[in-house]
């Protein structure tokens, strides 16, 4: 398959970036998107055309959340429920022009080319994405009874890989799906209760400070999340927030 690639190139955080166009030919339909970019980079280096295109990636199996690319107007490209590393070139048609951009958000500044700084997410986690653990011996598994449906729901929320596609997809660059998932995975379980009321308020405060936008219930996040995190997690976070604001007295 042959493609025309329009790729955002930006030398560093301060530089003014622009799109460069590259042609690439003879790509197998079974090639993954990142492999296609590897082939492109090999050509750029070997033929001395340009510096290789820099893009984030690590596990290449859909679990680390590094490979965020905004492809033809959608985070992680045209397939549903997958990361960019799990996207295959057969999802495009031969001769297509593919536009590849970095995540765009005030809170996710570009570092180089397609790589953005997602440490804003880490800062939100530092505000409350943890539980207090007791010291002493290892507790028995299943010592605390948890209904299976609750455990499942918490597990679904916990499957968020922090990729940032929700922010990238949202017209307001809002991080509500990410924070909603992180609040929910604890709010659903007894282990998360001691900090529950403090957690939700602090994480949201941090999220706002970092410059993420306000949610307008557009649900592009849910449509683009590679882990199919549901918008009901946002509703749950709103509920937790109201509950905390009306009953939590400790500052």
């Amino acid at each position: 398959m042959d493609f025309t690639l329009k790729i955002w190139r930006q030398a560093n955080a301060k530089a003014k970036g622009k799109f460069e166009t590259y042609k690439i030919t003879g790509i197998s339909p079974d090639c993954s998107f990142l492999e296609m970019l590897d082939i492109l980079n090999e050509q750029l280096i070997n033929d001395n055309i340009a510096h290789p295109v820099v893009f984030d990636n690590d596990c290449r199996e859909g679990i680390c959340g590094m490979c965020g690319l905004y492809i033809n107007g959608r985070p992680h490209g045209p397939d549903d429920g997958v990361t960019t590393c799990q996207l295959h070139m057969r999802k495009f048609h031969d001769g297509e022009t593919i536009t590849i951009e970095p995540w765009r958000a005030k809170a996710f500044p570009v570092i180089k080319d397609l790589v953005v700084d997602r440490s804003a997410f880490d800062k939100i986690i530092q505000e409350g994405g943890y539980i207090s653990a007791t010291t002493g011996g290892v507790p028995d598994a299943n010592a605390i009874p948890i209904p299976k449906p609750k455990a499942d729901e918490a597990m679904d929320a916990a499957s968020c890989i922090g990729c940032g596609a929700c922010v990238a997809a949202c017209k307001n660059a809002s991080a509500m799906l990410f924070v909603g998932a992180k609040v929910s995975q604890f709010a659903l379980l007894p282990q998360g209760q001691p900090e529950a009321k403090r957690r939700v308020v602090r994480m949201i405060k941090k999220m706002d400070e970092l410059g993420f936008g306000n949610c307008t219930n557009t649900y592009a996040c849910e449509a683009e999340c590679p882990k199919s995190i549901k918008k009901t997690n946002i509703a749950r976070m709103n509920r937790e927030f109201i509950c905390s604001k009306t009953s939590y007295t400790d500052k």
Binding site: K106, A173, C215, N217, T218, A235
Partner: protein, 289 residues
Amino acid sequence: MKLIKLASISKKLCMGALGAFLLIFLPFHMGMNLCILRDDGGEWYRNVCHFMGTNYIVKVFEVVLLACVLFHIVLGIILAIENKMSRPVGYAVANKSKTHQGSKFMIWTGGILLVFLVIHFVDFYFAKTGLVTGKYVVKTEKVEKAFQEKAMKMQQGQLKEADLKELQAQYMAIQSLSGEKVAKNGKYFINLTKEELQQTCGKDFKDYEPDFYNMAKEKFHNNLFVVIYLLAFIALGIHLYHGVGSVFQTYGLNIEKYAKTIDILAVIYAIVIPLGFAIVPLKVLLTAM
């Protein structure tokens, strides 16, 4: 960087509460409007307007409602600006994701509604507050009473020459109106211009009300006017379709069990309300009402 120092969710909760109040208000407004359809020469409609114009509870709600609309608009614009600021560099190819239809246009459908509200207020609400002149309705018995009081004064010799002339003119005016500008039930003089009102009742007469029935009929015989209204109702439908579901989500009530029901509710509300509003101008335009 944020325009208001309030948690993003708090702002949303305010927006939702204000919106929800408007959602409750709309069916009442629609119900009143539909009274115009009854073939009674406007009797029901005038009674409703009289109630709305004089009842004190209604007056309190009117202030609350105006405040809600104002804050809803201001907050909506602030949110929209903040959200634009959250993505300083945009995408070249943007937003191909599946989203809730309507949600992307809230500020635009809201903007259309704002323009509509300005037109609507100038035409109807300003007439009520006396900022613009419209058509007026007064009770026949009140006109007669005012006339008789003056006639009484005349008999007691308290009136000057000029006042006598006015009284005569008043008498003539009442006679000529009695032929055409009386409501079906005979209780009101209707569709009076400001001059006619002053001629019949005298300059310092206060006991009149705007004749919204005839004003509406007059406005809605104008094609352009009806088209503007219908466009606004379409925008309203889109705004409401997203708004109804949005309130549930914002208040954390959108649990999976209810999601379908809420969606259906939103569709029904967003169709029934604008349709209910649209019936009135359409009926006036298309029938010889």
